[in-house]
Amino acid sequence: MKILVFNCGSSSLKYRLIQMPDECELAGGEAQRVGPPTAAPARIYHSVGGGEPQVHYAEMPDHGTAFTAVMDLLVDEGLTCDAVGHRVVHGGVLFSQPTVIDESSMSRLEEISGLAPLHNPPTLNLIRVSRKMYPALPQVAVFDTAFHSTIPEKAFTYAIPQDLSQKYGLRKYGFHGTSHEFVVEEAARMLQQPLEQFSAVSCHLGSGGASLCAVVNGKSVDNTMGYSPMQGLVMSTRCGDIDPALTLNLLAYTQGNEDSVENILNKQSGVLALSGVSGDIRDILTLRGDGGRASRTAEIYLWRIRKYLGAYLTVVGHASAVIFTDTIGENIHEVRERVCRDLEIFGLKIDLEKNRTADSFPCDVATPDSLVRILIIRTNEELAIARRVYTALVSEHRSAAR
């Protein structure tokens, strides 16, 4: 079965065509600068069979047109697919499993679209176009929040009146679930431990969003993101944890303009606000001579990760591993070093040399006597989605045959 997976970013569209169950990538790429025109033209980096990516230019004012442009490239190569998988950031309480999209699930998806205003609407736009153009193709939505549906009540509950929580679904959902789930499964395999007995803390440190996940017996038990992706770590342009009174005061100062406050906390905060120059922690770590503002920014960013790492290692109890993944987690050794050092209390010892020179993944950069392994694992959300889509369709096929 050839599964075409789409992963919608706010201004990008990643895709991979994967042959399942052998997990062989037939084609893949990324459409960039999707949306309103920017300084550079919209383009697609497209590669076939793992070859060098070729650049193709196309008008892509929204994710629906980006989808059409990608399909054109695939058709030109003579490539077809048997099913489509979509990454959906927020499934709310309605979706805790991969879901085959039909009219009823589509209208439920529309219902919760406001829960992730940056991501869910472009994804829905893409799904609509794709269903219209290929009505016969099965399409499956895979939710970032699904892996976190096992977070226990004590951890997902906010201490507010419960009638209000129930009325509006006000609870921790957690995000980056597809990525956390993927690296946790890989880590258990790598350490030859059964997943159902594997406990760890997974650090998904992206160049934009970032979250930590506490994992007990292969299941998510906590995530630093909450009801929305704004809570938790200091991110590129998101604030992470702040005092609720600060949010309320911002609301008062903007005369109750929620969009404006959301814009401040989502797009103008985090590393960008602290450094004043860049939202990319890689820029900040190499920046010198700005009166110490960059190094202070890095300290704050790293300190928050360390605090949550300590919190989750305590919650998990006996973790087998701390896992680093995504752009920053995989590539920036300084972040891993400064997060892991001086945490011997948790049995964590990083091998500085191994960590600095790590370049082939997956790998273990803990010292031999460290009680907890420190793993770097390349995340592959598209492959994780393809696996879920495959399982969902095969089981649907089986139950239909019965």
Partner: protein
């Protein structure tokens, strides 16, 4: 030497008279209604009448030698207790917009003290002083420092008086107490990590709302959730603030008015969720404290519900990673009241400051 300790709490002025360096409790009580029924000045007069009436019966000729006032918020300007002088009042005046609920009644109380007990030195104790020097990585939020929010954009911590006294009480022990997890069990519970007497991490924030759930306050909450509430219920910031400070926390989870001991010391099913949420949040904050100090030597519980610490220690301590050490020396409860801590400290503060400055008023 007799010391009168005063503290505002909600609509109540609490008082206590202590003698012999704060060790002996002569009298304690409270007078309600300073925000709703009377002025602060009238409330203080009621306190003084009660003190005088009781003292006539028990101790003849009791005089108040110094007054200790509790202050919830001292901003960056007060890093230690002060004996009130003219410049203190000017400084407090300049901070009204940062703490509009706290500072005006405090200023009224100070002038009433000078009017009704002339010549009696007044010492201010700030909950935030202990945290003024909090390291920058813990102190700052990841938002634009130029944002207009009405107050300084930094984390404080709101039980500095308890944390400081509780940690100091461990220093006289022979057991190593370099790194302390200080858990203050008040209606707004708060956890701090303290290294060699200085805090390096605290659960409280720019206001007491952040951090652990309180008896009626929510503790940490997702900003996105607040924006959704604002959109869906069409509530203004004031209404959401009332929800988060008065109807949330353990009370919000249980659905009726409860306190920390009601929840933590009960096996009742109706408080189960509140208890589990509170235990979990404590565990997570303690994990953060462990990371902040790369371990710990002691845990100390303080606050009016300090006794609940025995129950908390029973499940918390076994979950913590620590080297071969006897569990019994790992934790203790510091059960001295806030009023008594202030009274005991007052003498030390006055000894360090020339008394002449009180005459400037």
């Amino acid at each position: 030497m007799n010391i009168l300790s005063l503290s505002f709490e909600g609509d109540v002025l609490k008082y206590g008279v202590f003698s012999e360096g704060g060790l002996l409790v002569v009298q304690q009580g409270q007078v309600a209604g300073f925000r709703t029924e009377h002025t602060v000045g009238r409330t203080l007069q009621s306190v003084l009448v009660r003190v005088a009436a009781t003292c006539d019966e028990n101790i003849s000729g009791l005089t108040i030698d110094a007054i200790a006032l509790h202050v919830a918020f001292g901003g960056d300007k007060f890093s230690e207790p002060v004996v009130v002088a003219l410049k203190t009042v000017e400084c407090l005046n300049s901070m009204i917009c940062e703490a509009p609920m706290h500072i005006p009644p405090l200023l009224e109380l100070i002038s009433s003290c000078f009017r009704d007990l002339p010549g009696c030195p007044v010492v201010l104790f700030f909950e935030t002083s202990f945290f003024v020097g909090l390291p920058e990585c813990e102190r700052l939020y990841a938002i634009n420092p130029d944002l207009q929010t009405g107050f300084g954009l930094r984390r404080y911590g709101y039980h500095g008086i308890f944390h400081e006294a509780a940690c100091a009480s461990l220093m006289c022990d022979s057991v190593r107490s370099e790194r302390i997890i200080s858990i203050c069990l008040e209606p707004h519970a708060e956890i701090a990590a303290v290294v060699a007497g200085s805090p390096v991490m605290v659960s409280g924030g720019a206001t007491p709302l952040e951090g652990l759930p309180g008896d009626t306050s929510s503790g940490e909450i997702d900003s996105g959730l607040l924006l959704s509430l604002s959109r869906m219920e069409r509530w203004g910031p004031e209404q959401i603030n009332t929800l988060l400070t008065q109807r949330s926390g353990l009370t919000g989870l249980v659905g009726s008015s409860v306190t920390l001991p009601d929840v933590m010391l009960s096996e009742q099913e109706n408080v189960r969720l509140a208890r589990e949420v509170m235990q979990y949040r404590i565990l997570r904050q303690v994990g953060m404290a462990l990371a902040a100090m790369n371990g710990f030597d002691r845990i100390v519980f303080s606050g009016r519900y300090a006794r609940v610490g025995r129950e908390i220690a029973s499940w918390l301590v076994p979950k913590l990673p620590f080297s071969e050490k006897s569990e019994t020396v790992l934790w203790s409860c510091f059960e001295t009241s806030l009023m008594q801590i202030m009274a005991a400290q007052t003498l030390k503060v006055m000894a360090a400051v020339p008394s002449a400055c009180t005459q400037e008023m």
